[in-house]
């Protein structure tokens, strides 16, 4: 691919992204904050860098091959994280260095929600709004990536979804159809966010908090405007609304589209992935509530309230918190962290390996069991009524092994920086699964971790968000040949 094409695309992207500085300018103006200057500056820098890269090549025409999708997707997230970190780097309190600003920006755009900032209550509203907006924009990007781009690239078995995406995306060129799909998804995403904000507002949040939290709920991001997260409100009603929208946002957005089109609410329950997703939430939820009650960590109603909320928050990889689960009997946080590895559904804003892959792994492992008992019989792996091609199964297994292998390597890297096992395990799991909260030294926030660890974790967030292979493929010599 010609570097000129890359510059043109990234330039156009930056021009678009510069607009993201305008709402914070408006918020700063509304609350009479001096950050008007900060965000205006960011707007100008991003806009002109974008124009500088775009204009010289605005009329270059080059056909894009599917393969080019890998490079563009990775650069997309890297460049946005870089420019997204400008206001965080330049703001006065807290005074973040480049490592921290980049970490926070990457954490926002990948909807991870891990933070290096404490004292959120003291931050200017415009900065708070900006952080929430980063997650919301990241979430939008992920849905387009997952529904429109990954199926075409065939990453980790996602070719399964190739024919199911809204609109007929059957050709393998990265051309206009993506724009159509993206528009449909955009309306859907905006719609759900608006309803979510409305519910929060009716439940007692002020409008600012309602909008901010709707951003990070629907994006499965987990950033909050308070150090105590959504627990600050101490309102079971608000928690219930959060639970509802976390579960909804953890489903495939293409499925929402079809469900709305079919006007049949039972459409969801016929989807094998949704069945698996709800089964995991219910199963882990049940175990957690019973364990919290039996160990006397909470009494009955509290066990139900805190147990269900944290399970939904972590299993969907949102990362909101209403209690300090790092103080629960260690069995439970570990169970929750392990559940975040399966994560939400493919095509959602959630992280983890995705329920569909866990489902396929289980079906394939159980086929191996059957084959041992009847070595000469033929068994097919089915998803609903459709047989899953062997090649999809192989891609899923390749994905899962790469995921676990990279998890181990990064955990060892964090241990080598001197962190203890609990911290290393939980932070790498949290960032790779785009979850957010962690245990040990990072149980409050990631501030105190060594800079090396923060860079490894930023890499983990990107790896997780880009479904591993999009990024790993760039390290393969074969990719660059010819």
């Amino acid at each position: 691919m010609h570097p000129s094409v890359i510059l043109r695309i990234l330039g156009a992207l930056l021009v678009l992204f510069s607009l993201a500085s305008l709402p914070p300018v408006f918020v700063a103006w509304l609350y009479h904050e001096p950050e008007i200057a900060l965000f205006s500056y960011t707007f100008v820098v991003t806009l002109f860098t974008g124009l500088g890269a775009w204009l010289p090549f605005a009329h270059t025409e080059h056909e894009l091959r599917p393969r080019d999708g890998f490079l563009i997707t990775v650069l997309f997230w890297l460049v946005l994280s870089l420019f997204g970190s400008i206001p965080l780097l330049l703001m006065e309190t807290p005074n973040l260095d480049f490592t921290d600003a980049f970490f926070e920006s990457m954490s926002g755009l990948t909807t991870t929600g891990a933070t290096v900032i404490t004292g959120l209550e003291e931050l200017p509203k415009s900065i708070l709004f900006y952080r929430q907006q980063l997650q919301w924009l990241g979430g939008m990007g992920i849905i387009v990536l997952a529904v429109a781009i990954l199926p075409m690239l065939g990453i980790g078995g996602m070719q399964l979804y190739r024919t199911e995406a809204p609109g007929p995306i059957k050709d393998r060129k990265l051309t206009p159809r993506i724009a159509e799909t993206a528009k449909t998804l955009w309306y859907l995403y905006l719609g759900i966010t608006t309803i979510c904000a409305g519910c929060y507002w009716l439940a007692g949040m002020n409008l600012f908090d309602a909008i901010c939290h709707s951003f990070s709920t629907v994006a499965i991001g987990g950033f909050s405007t308070y150090d105590a997260s959504i627990g600050w409100f101490n309102s079971p009603l608000i928690e219930g609304i959060a639970i509802f929208f976390m579960v909804i946002s953890g489903m495939n957005f293409a499925l929402h589209y079809f469900a709305i089109q079919s006007r049949d609410p039972f459409y969801y329950f016929r989807d094998p992935e949704v069945q698996g997703y709800l089964a995991i939430l219910a199963g882990v939820g049940f175990i957690s509530v019973v364990a919290l009650d039996m160990t006397g960590t909470y009494t009955d109603w509290e066990a139900l309230r805190y147990g269900v909320f944290e399970v939904v928050s972590i299993a969907t990889t949102t990362g909101y918190s209403i209690s300090d689960f790092s103080l629960w009997p260690i069995f439970l946080p570990m169970l929750l962290f392990l559940t975040s590895f399966s994560g939400a559904c493919a095509g959602s804003t959630g992280g983890g390996m995705k329920v569909i892959r866990i489902l396929l792994i289980f079906k394939q492992a159980s086929r191996e069991l059957k084959r041992l008992i009847h070595p000469n019989a033929i068994f097919t792996v089915k998803l609903g009524r459709r047989a899953v091609p062997d090649r999809v199964g192989e891609a899923v297994w390749g994905f899962v092994s790469a995921y676990i292998f990279l998890f181990i390597i990064m955990e060892l890297a964090l241990l080598a920086t001197g962190l203890d096992l609990t911290t290393a395990f939980s932070t790498v799991a949290s960032c790779l699964n785009n979850l957010g909260p962690a245990l040990g030294e990072a149980s409050a926030n990631y501030q105190s971790l060594p800079a090396t660890a923060k860079w490894v974790l930023s890499f983990a967030m990107l790896l997780g968000r880009l479904e591993i292979f999009t990024l790993v493929v760039l390290f393969s010599p074969m990719f660059w040949r010819h």
Copy 2:
């Protein structure tokens, strides 16, 4: 399968196993120990139970199906662990309860080498000898299992070895050929053990220690006659001999057979699994020695000595120790424990998932990468010059996912008993990989763990030793149907 056939086979097995009490009787006589009575009693009980089960059905003839191999193999290890625990249960000091005696016996026969006993120096020689002998017999059983039985059952991709086993085992009936193969392997195993004992003796061990340690070296067991393990001798020469025989015993015994037949020492290096095995040992060894030196844990020569020994000991899953590696910077013990997951070669006495499977997983994951770049090209996974059938790949992936899934479930179970993360992770990894040593509360031995944890860990040892599926298949309703 008729219960009468099972009783006949297990009866015959117990009659054979009763003979294992005679060498300890001899040792007790030699050292004038009162344990003559203990082992004579064990001999009589085991012999007569065996005869009682065998004789009534001695003339029953039933064709065995390959499937029956699963049940027989599992019962084989369970029944031997049970009868093997008799002397440990009845001995006076230390006074073990049933949980501990069974754990120790299972640990011996599965060549895990995890122990609940301290003060080994004070134990009667006959008891010490008996423990070592349990490992040696277990090692023999494992080789027969791995070389002759698993390939026929096709567990976890081991059908790869079906045509490579010594002697033509091409029919799928559990009949005389196994006996032939077993005899060949028995001579080989005895030969290597004898040479190993001779080397230890020449290097300065007394004859008793030399024989005892040769048993646990060649079986990759790790039991010692001293609490300080082989470090008690504080002899670099002995350590070098141990390293050599651990590496040798971690290779496929069928490969030893072919190498000896071909009279070509380079035969080994042409085997892709041996190449991978040596590369892992060299790579992890290099990292460890450098890390030990750079962190100032040891000075140069000591870093080399302790680093190489512990890496070989843990990567092969032997579990001997010459230093307290639980005190090393946590990065290193974790690296070693993770390496024990790949473990030794298939068809050896070692544990873990086996190098061949890790190799296949890597090759398949790298094929997925290539497929992403060239979606329409066809790539074959090769091992040496042979293409690996897709079905073998699927079986390997099924194996690895079941392994990791069960590891997680058992780790959660141990956390639920109240153990901390380091202890739970390391003990489950150690027992599932048939390794032995662990960290945290089990860094000296397993005595202080709760009884529930010991039973879970006994189950883990059996699971690991029987390559997961042999045991798991028995829990499937399909197995029992018809």
